[in-house]
């Protein structure tokens, strides 16, 4: 595998090290001279000093071969976006991973078709929500490309779905229950499964259906 990593901060340096340790061919691009020097002492000829959003720098890094994957992990979202677009659209790189630093910029990555993205803040928030739920509905996983999400809901006594079988819940199309965790045992949700207080229910749905699903399961 040949990978180009752009951005030599903590993430980029560690990704480069991990790939190098697995004997993969990797080139790391860093724009700051002082940081590039430091990285060069560890990674040697694998480091290229330059602005990874400049075409000639990308070409120096070997983007025209093209690489199997480009990892855009600079600290600037606009740079990661442009790197991803250039690599994919101009150089035909098939796989590009981009880092989203500010979760508010996720919408731009989605709009411009840059996927997959990794947003550490969003991941941490999802874990916080999962570990210490503040809401009855927890987002477990977002499948952006597929326009689906997986959510978890805990059924409490006030929920309108208590005592009803799945096929009588009136779930909208575009939403399906996956499983019910009851007393520590998880079971696939069948149309005949009757929901009870304390159940932890997993559902897969189109994000735009979330309001309806919330209403069906939680009542609000």
């Amino acid at each position: 595998m040949f990978a180009i990593v752009i951005g030599g901060g903590k993430v980029g340096a560690n990704v480069t090290r991990s790939l190098a340790e697995r004997d993969q061919e990797v080139v790391l691009v860093e724009s700051k001279a002082s940081r590039a020097d430091t990285l060069e002492s560890e990674f040697g000829h694998r480091v290229i000093h330059g602005d990874g959003t400049e075409l000639y720098v990308l070409e120096q890094a070997g983007v025209t071969r093209p690489p199997d994957i480009v990892v855009a992990v600079t600290g600037d979202d606009e740079d990661n976006l442009v790197i991803a677009q250039l690599c994919r659209e101009r150089y035909g790189v098939e796989k590009v991973i981009a880092r989203v630093n500010d979760p508010r910029n996720q919408a731009h990555f989605d709009l411009l078709g840059v996927t997959p993205t990794v947003c550490p803040t969003q991941r941490i928030m999802a874990l916080i929500e999962h570990e210490v739920p503040q809401h009855a509905l927890v987002h477990l996983l977002e499948l952006r490309k597929e326009n689906l999400e997986i959510i978890e809901v805990e059924i409490d006594p006030k929920c309108p779905c208590v005592g009803k079988p799945v096929n009588e819940l009136g779930l909208p199309t575009g939403a399906k229950l996956i499983s019910v965790l009851r007393g520590g045992v998880a079971e696939i949700a069948m149309s005949s499964t009757v929901l009870e207080v304390g159940d932890q229910v997993l559902a897969i749905l189109e994000p735009e259906r979330e309001g309806e699903v919330r209403k069906v399961l939680l009542g609000s």
Partner: protein, 140 residues
């Protein structure tokens, strides 16, 4: 009702552009991240200003991008301008969008995407090359 233009970035280019378009009768809205840069517009500037980053959708919406006739991304960051211009075209359907792109290579790479790419560096290169050609013509 006059035409409305949103200018992103109030550096040397953005500020001068804002004045120039205001003189032409545009309703100008300037978006700038750094408050101190707004002073470039001078004490008599009467058009609306929005403080914030051009990639922030809330800021764009506050500037009224959804109802703008034109948007010009003129910050000193090529990549910021490229992203803002694409968001303006694709999300907000702004009819006329232009981006200032210093790097001629990136300017070429982003040509033909529904917004005008203006590269000051390319203009300088073309202008200076033109000068040299004329000088050569005079001499020969």
């Amino acid at each position: 009702m006059g035409m409305k233009v949103v200018i992103i970035g109030c550096g040397r280019v953005g500020a001068a552009l804002a004045h120039s378009l205001a003189d032409d009768g545009w309703n100008v809205v300037v978006v700038e991240m750094k408050e101190e840069n707004l002073s470039r517009l001078g004490p008599d500037w009467r058009h609306p200003l929005v403080l914030g980053h051009g990639m922030d959708e809330k800021v764009l919406e506050k500037a009224g991008v959804a109802t703008a006739d034109a948007l010009i991304a003129a910050t000193d960051g090529d990549n910021t301008n490229l992203v803002v211009a694409q968001v303006a075209v694709q999300r907000y359907k702004v009819p006329h969008v232009a981006a200032r792109i210093q790097d001629p290579a990136r300017a070429d790479a982003y040509a033909g995407r529904g917004f005008e790419v203006v590269s000051p560096v390319k203009m300088a290169i073309d202008g200076l090359a033109d000068f040299a050609r004329r000088a050569k013509g005079d001499g020969g």
